[in-house]
């Protein structure tokens, strides 16, 4: 067992409780940074894809995991990010300008549409976000001169200070760029959670009445969360556009929204780490299924002969997670970790859910 002795309030304000925790994150970043030297192009591209999904997942996690609001429309913000970035670069702006603007565009759009929407709750808000998604999809098709309409659009090659970050020509550079952006956003997210803004999100999530009694403007807080969430997802969209290279509206379908929801729920709601765990799962499972298909093919079994079978297996795996690991992958990780740090003191009932008693419904 390890104990952390606290000697000042700064201990609690700091992101890391001790040097060990800081070293572990640093090591993780170094391992990720060295990945291009360890794996081939195929897996490096997959890793970049996973990081982009983790970024999008963090965007949705702010809203769903930390503010407690649903969204079925986050593919719309991916689309806004991707199209804004590509369109601005096509208009001659450098990536360093177009990319932040893409995030800003998605964020401002998200916050503005959120102001009326967040007054709704639960299923109504979910439907409103779905409607938002449909509207954005239509807009993409209508704004053909900018978006390429149904035909689609090229995301130009990224170049910063004369160095190429093209997804194909300089894959390692592109990967590092994605990694740097993900690290920066993760740091900002962690800061958010240790500050008054993040606490107000949690307050709104856990008890709206209490939040109001503490002076928190619930509507404004939700709109802010929606904006930040949309902004981060927009950044991920910008990168996704470059990763796909050539895309049209179909790249940001409703299924992408649903996959994103799966990333956050399967990864572990309410934890930044959850977005990463979820992104790894959602990008790795199709890969594993492909490997499995090839393997079985060698045995004379051809599962690709049955259409939709791998989608069905994929869905079953996801349903299994939701049923048997409701706290998500990160929740499972925490349990395993606690088991080893407390060894041999861990008890089986330690993680049994506490009964929480009924709150008054009258105030809602």
């Amino acid at each position: 067992m390890r104990f952390v002795f606290k000697t000042s309030y700064d201990r609690d304000i700091d992101l890391h409780k001790d040097g060990w925790s800081r070293a572990r994150i640093a090591l993780l970043v170094v391992i990720f940074a060295l990945l291009p030297f360890a794996v081939g192009d195929y897996y490096l591209a997959e890793a970049a894809n996973t990081l982009i999904w983790a970024l999008a997942g963090m965007g949705l996690m702010i809203l769903v995991g930390h503010t407690g609001l649903p969204s079925l429309g986050h593919a719309a913000f991916l689309a806004i990010g991707a199209y804004t970035d590509a369109a601005l670069m096509n208009a001659g702006l450098p990536f360093l300008v177009s990319f932040p603007l893409a995030g800003l565009a998605a964020g401002v759009f998200g916050a503005i549409v959120a102001i009326p929407a967040v007054r709704m709750s639960g299923i109504y808000l979910a439907i409103a976000t779905l409607a938002l998604f449909v509207i954005v999809e239509e807009m993409v098709i209508i704004l053909e001169p900018i978006t390429g309409g149904v035909g689609g659009i090229f995301a130009p090659s990224i170049e910063i200070a004369g160095i190429g970050f093209d997804r194909y020509a300089n894959l390692a550079n592109f990967y590092w760029l994605v990694l740097a952006i993900v690290v920066a956003v993760t740091w900002c997210y962690a800061n958010l959670l240790r500050s008054p803004t993040g606490r107000s999100f949690l307050a709104v999530r856990d008890s709206e009445v209490s939040a109001r009694a503490l002076g928190i403007n619930v509507t404004a807080t939700r709109a802010l969360s929606f904006g930040l969430s949309a902004g981060v997802t927009g950044l991920a969209g910008g990168l996704m556009g470059h990763f796909i290279g050539f895309f049209n509206y179909e790249a940001f379908s409703i299924f992408i929204s649903i996959n994103l929801l799966l990333v956050v729920t399967i990864g572990g709601l309410g934890f930044i780490q959850g977005a990463f765990f979820g992104a790894i799962l959602i990008t790795a499972v199709p890969q594993l299924l492909a490997i499995l298909r090839d393997g079985l093919g060698g045995w004379g079994v051809d599962i690709s002969a049955i259409p939709g079978l791998d989608t069905a297996i994929f869905s079953l795996i996801l349903i299994g997670f939701i049923v048997y690991e409701p706290a998500g992958l990160y929740g499972r990780y925490l349990k395993i970790k606690a088991y080893f740090t407390l060894f041999p003191l861990a008890r089986r009932d330690m993680f049994r859910r506490n009964k929480t008693y009924v709150k008054t419904e009258r105030m809602r």
Partner: protein, 258 residues
């Protein structure tokens, strides 16, 4: 001028006259209690002051300012804090974070500064923490500082909720049945805290409570209500002796707090 002035307050839910013409004033530094049978409208009076409900009729003034038209989130910044009859804490946060959330009205940083965690944010966090630690010390919550609310016993949660209200640094605190569900020892502690709040922190206390021992011990004045209407006002002894009050309690045998 009184700190809180409630004038002819009324709210009707359809045909139910939950509160119907209640007037009272609370002086600065006073402990003022509202008693009455279950369903009398006591919590509804609190919800009207908190602006969770819009009154059908009547005025509420705090510190000379008419607050009847304000939004619920504009009440705490004026210095009015409250607890809930059915504890409303942030269950998935620690005691410390719950208390820090009580500092919301004192935040001086915006979300951009927060996200970048500029030095100002750290300075502010230290100051918030210091204030919250004073509350923790006052309520003897040291042992529970890092514990999640979801795992805490009922009595501790009640205290944490008082702590969160105190973290606001209010002038007036509304306590809705602070002793309900507590053991005798815990109720006695609540009585001490209420007296300390008034004496050491200069707080004004408006309390709803069934425990007449506690009410008698701490209150300067007591208002009895039944069926949304005022019955009697005066010292605890005067109100208990009032024939209307006796009738109200006999007419509705007292149950446990709903």
């Amino acid at each position: 001028m009184s700190l809180l002035e409630v004038e002819d307050l009324a709210i009707h839910f359809g045909g139910v006259k939950a509160v119907d013409g209640v007037s009272f004033t609370v002086e600065e530094g006073e402990v003022f209690s509202i008693i009455g049978p279950n369903g009398a409208g006591k919590s509804t009076i609190f919800n009207l002051i908190s602006r969770f409900y819009r009154p059908t009729r009547g005025r509420i003034r705090f510190d000379g300012q008419d607050i009847t038209g304000l939004a619920a989130h504009q009440i705490a910044p004026l210095g009015i804090a409250r607890t809930f009859q059915n504890i409303e804490l942030f269950d998935h946060s620690t005691v410390l974070d719950n208390l820090l959330m009580g500092r919301h009205t004192h935040r001086r940083t915006n979300f951009v500064q927060d996200i970048l965690f500029l030095p100002k944010v750290r300075r502010e966090e230290r100051a918030h923490r210091q204030r919250v630690e004073e509350v923790i010390e006052f309520l003897e919550l040291e042992h529970y500082r890092e514990k999640m609310i979801a795992g805490l016993p009922y009595g501790v949660r009640k205290v944490v909720e008082i702590g969160r209200a105190l973290s606001i640094g209010p002038k007036l605190i509304l306590l809705d049945e602070p002793a309900s569900g507590l053991s005798v020892e815990e109720s006695e502690e609540v009585a001490f805290w209420i007296e300390d709040m008034r004496r050491d922190m200069g707080l004004t206390v408006l309390m709803v409570e069934h425990d007449m021992g506690l009410v008698t011990q701490v209150s300067d004045r007591v208002l009895a209500v039944a069926n949304g209407q005022p019955l009697a006002m005066g010292t605890a002894a005067e109100v208990q002796d009032d024939p209307h009050v006796k009738a109200a309690y006999l007419g509705t045998p007292e149950e446990d707090a709903a």
